[in-house]
């Protein structure tokens, strides 16, 4: 009986190994199953999902106008101190002082892409961009100013 069991053991073991070998041989011969993405080469065709959270940007229109009122809602919502709003006072044509942003400083290196600033913004001034290649040579380049040089607030945004 021992001998029979012994031989049976050897055969079941060999069979289980053969099943595994057949599976790898299948993939060895079926190259259409390959799933490698050749990343830098397919950059042109690579399209990320619309909702992908890559970095915070502030859209500007053709007249170099943005929608940010400088209310600091995003700054307060951020868990990591990523956003810093620097405000200044503009003088309106009527001679009144009006608060506006001077700089909206964004620290990409601190950002966790949690989307809280976007949801907090009352005037939809900022949104998430679908970029993901964030490597730079110097850490200081991560600190970005989101509003363009000389930009001003769009008419009618309060």
């Amino acid at each position: 009986m021992f001998i029979v069991n012994y031989i049976k053991d050897v055969f079941t073991a060999l069979k289980s190994l053969a099943i595994g070998l057949r599976r790898t041989l299948f993939y060895f011969t079926h190259h259409n199953e390959i799933i490698t993405e050749q990343y830098p080469d397919n950059r042109a065709t690579l399209r990320l999902a619309d909702r992908f959270k890559g970095e915070v940007v502030m859209p500007h229109d053709a007249n170099n106008e943005h929608r940010c009122t400088g209310c600091t809602a995003c700054e307060l919502a951020c868990p990591n101190g990523t956003i810093k709003v620097v405000t200044k006072f503009d003088i309106t044509p009527e001679g009144k002082k009006k608060k506006a942003i001077d700089k909206l400083v964004y620290h990409l290196e601190l950002c966790t892409m949690c989307n809280l600033c976007i949801t907090a913004c009352p005037s939809d001034a900022i949104k998430m961009a679908q970029t993901f290649e964030h490597s730079v040579y110097d850490r200081s380049q991560f600190t970005k100013v989101l509003n363009n040089e000389g930009s001003k607030i769009m008419e009618g945004v309060e």
Binding site: I19, P79, C114
Partner: protein, 371 residues
Amino acid sequence: MVEELGSNTEGDLIINVGPQHPATHGVLHLVITLNGETIKKVEPHLGYIHRSIEKMCESLTYRQFIYVTSRMDYLSSHINNHACALIVEKGMQIEVPPRAQVIRVLMDELTRIASHELWWGAMAMDLGAFTPFFHAFREREAINEIMEETCGARLTMNYMVPGGVLEDLHPDFQRKVKEFITLYKRKIAEYDDMVTGNIIFQNRMKGVGVISAADAISYGCSGPTLRGCGVSCDIRKIYPYELYDKIEFDEVLETAGDSFARYMVRIREMNQSIRIIEQLIDNIPEGDVQAKTKAVLKLPKGEFYQRVETARGEFGIFIVSEGGTNPYRIKFRSPGFSNLSALDHMARGSKIGDLVAMMGTLDLVIPDIDR
């Protein structure tokens, strides 16, 4: 180090496994005492990725602290976020819309499958079979793409908010999930061919790292580690949250308590998750995905505890609130921490090769342990 361990005798070999070691999947540091190839003692040294998330959360608001928990158990970040959302909703009595509830459960189960897929590949790789690792990533990639489309990120999704979910589902979501289910069902048989049925694998796993049910309970193990001993501990079943009391699924139990039992629990759990997804995917009710909440969330004074079932076991959040916008004290009960404490008990008397198999089946995620 040698003096500290105390109980050594002449001729013992003390080896530092980690913090940089292929089998620890991160920065876990185990000091093991060996007698030849036999393990006499395993002592974990933690804290290499300790960020004191509990202290950080004390200065964050109830909206903000959710996103920190994604960084703990990064493989089931969705489920961690879910626990946070649930505890805020419980404290403030926010009613979550039915559509959001279904979406949450769907996302949880997808996350569970993704986590188990990665575990399966990494576990096979620990045992020396490299090929399954890549095959597991094929299925996991499909889930990641679904996550990316709907949640906007692949790993730390940040999709749960108090009162619902961040955005509605992507229009392609249902189609993609169904595609994934077909892919999964086609490929799951191959897992048996390559790993589960393999005689070498079975010999490596069976009777290795045995822990009795009483010991596992005493060590506070949870999730597949405890269910592998035959103890029912699925939070989804015994303390149901969200929709889980209305969904049909089986709690997976194995009785052997060894590495193979834990392995089989996870493999069968994936099938149960697929079953849950199949039930819900065509029955997503229409409606809002987010309840109306106040701009500033404040939990009433008191203590709150919420437990959920992550891919690794029972994850608990304990919040002490003083009534302000920030938690006064927050404690995360992570499944990995308690599971790891049982490693020494399991490993004594087995070989170094077995240690790898045990660590694999405990499914350790180091940030989850260190927090």
